[in-house]
């Protein structure tokens, strides 16, 4: 499968440039299909069409899931996720960090965060996971190794500049709220970066809409509920339109419904194009929302890969003092890693 844009002219360009594609499609002894990032068929060969039991012409423009209702949705979701992610946005090589008091918090960490993906950084308290992500927006500088964002070293860029690319939402919204009104609070980031008043207003509306708080402009940020304050915090980071959004333990202090609500919001942001990094040890959140996971233990990344791959390795997770959600363990015991109860149902009830 080849990752291609659905833009017609680009596709035409591709077809022209890779005229070989015609040859390959015609001659290959296997079924071949070309998808766009939404898993819509762009092109199929005869073999593929035969396998699907649908005429070639009927494939064009239709989604895989639509054409093949029997295809397990989890596989489709994974496909979708892999297709949508792009080139590495953050590159970590041999990263070490030693605190001024001598403690070695990170040692030899290698990691790549790709554009558009939803990464979970997992680990117990004190494992170094927060130390790791604080390098991404320049709050911490490596004492060994390198961290590059958009190809440039973080030490060259500095916190101020990186804040434009990598937004960091801290765990406790009360650690940043200081304004009289919600819109003042959200406007802080854009204003400080010197944007025009009209632009700032637009960003504020956009950000509030994205977090589901439109109409809250004149509200007292200190008087909102914890979940609402958290949204305000996310909105104020979003207003700067960063490419990456880091959320440190976004579910802390929220009840289950609020946690769901918050994570659904985060997923929406990811689907709209933001690269998301969530630092957490709440396993069901990772299972149901993240694409890829990196497990941190004692300052080292001991496991990384897709969530499904990582959750299949229960022994290594246990080593890192983590345990997958019960449904995942159950799936593992049955031989297939599922990520949620819904998925388990889908897989077992597949018609």
């Amino acid at each position: 499968m080849v990752d291609a844009r659905s833009d017609r002219s680009l596709q035409a360009e591709l077809e022209q440039a890779y005229g070989l594609l015609d040859v390959i499609f015609a001659r290959a002894p296997v079924g071949l299909a070309l998808f766009d990032e939404d898993l819509r068929y762009l092109r199929v060969n005869e073999r593929m069409a035969a396998m699907n039991g649908v005429p070639v012409a009927d494939h064009l423009g239709r989604a895989v899931g639509e054409l093949l209702p029997g295809l397990p949705r989890d596989v489709e979701d994974d496909l979708r996720r892999v297709l949508r992610t792009g080139e590495p946005l953050i590159e970590v090589e041999g990263l070490s960090h030693r605190y001024p008091n001598g403690v070695l918090a990170l040692e030899g960490v290698d990691l790549a965060v790709r554009r558009g993906e939803f990464l979970a950084v997992l680990g117990q308290n004190g494992s170094g996971k927060t130390t790791l992500v604080k390098h991404f927006n320049g709050l911490l500088e490596p004492t060994g190794g390198s961290v590059r964002v958009n190809g440039e070293e973080t030490v060259e860029q500095g916190v101020r500049k990186l804040g434009q690319t990598v937004g960091y939402v801290f765990q406790n919204p009360d650690h940043q709220i200081f304004s009289d009104t919600v819109s003042d609070e959200v406007a802080f980031g854009p204003k400080i970066r010197g944007l025009e008043e009209a632009e700032v207003e637009e960003r504020v509306s956009e950000a509030l809409r994205a977090v589901g708080l439109e109409g809250y402009e004149e509200e007292d940020p200190f008087g909102l509920t914890k979940g609402e304050r958290q949204r305000v915090a996310v909105a104020s980071v979003l207003a700067v339109r960063p490419e990456v959004l880091i959320l440190d333990e976004p579910t802390t202090g929220l009840d289950y419904a609020e946690q769901r609500s918050m994570m659904d919001l985060v997923r929406r942001l990811n689907e709209a194009g933001s690269t998301i990094i969530v630092v957490t040890h709440t396993m069901w959140v990772v299972a149901e929302y993240a694409h890829r996971a990196a497990v941190v233990k004692d300052g080292r990344v001991t496991l990384s890969g897709t969530v499904r791959e990582v959750f299949a390795k229960e022994d290594e997770l246990r080593d890192a003092s983590l345990r997958p959600p019960h449904i995942v363990s159950m799936g593992n015991a049955l031989g297939h890693t599922v990520c949620s109860v819904e998925e388990m149902l889908r897989v077992t009830e597949a018609k």
Partner: protein
Amino acid sequence: MREIFTMWRHTQMVVLVALTAAIYAAFLIVSQFLVIVPGFTNLRPGNVFPFVFGLLFGPAGAWGAAIGNLINDFFGTLGLGSIFGFVGNFFLGFLPYKMWHAYFRRDENMEPNVNSGKKLAVFVAIAILASIVCAVWIAWFNDLLGNVPFAVLGTIISLNNAIVGVILGPILLLVLYPRVKRWGLLWTEIMEPDEVPAARMKTVGNVLVWVGGVGALVLGLILGSAAGGAPGGLGVGLGLIPFLILILVGSFLLGGREQVEAAHEETDTMQSS
């Protein structure tokens, strides 16, 4: 001055003393890295807190400012001068709430939420005076001990506190007042009118504090500067005492019960309507 003792009956006030002291101390300690006259004073944004604490939390804020400064001294400069560091910072939090009501008539709104031109002017005036009084206490004692010349500390402390107080105070009060009120933590609402002495000749008290504070500063600067050529520290040490007494007397006269009554009236009318 009775309220600084009666306040201890209220658990919330006790807690506020601890919390305000911790906040003030934490900020002071951290800004020990921005030093002007090392060991004695630094340029610190945290210096705005005593004014805010005093206006919002009354006597609890005054104690908190004093204790907070003492704790800060624990981290390097604990010495005999710390005694008057305690007194000076106490006044930094004490005078704002004591003097505030002296500028308003009974029927005017005297809530410390700096949202009018008059309130802003009153705040600026009080902040400057409180800074001067704080400086006078500390500089006087350190000069008496022979540690630091009055002129040095007197000016530095006055300026440090006044500058920071005037720039940051109004903004902070504007944002913090409504929330503190909503949480029910204003001193005027926690304490009872009979726990606070009534003002006797509050205008006189007001004037006395001004005369005492500014007078002490001016006299100290004149006596203590090299150009004055005064024979030895005792000139400053003794010469300022009358002014210090004026400050104390003025503070006694100021009372403060009116604010508590006003606050309680408001809640009563709200409850009965």
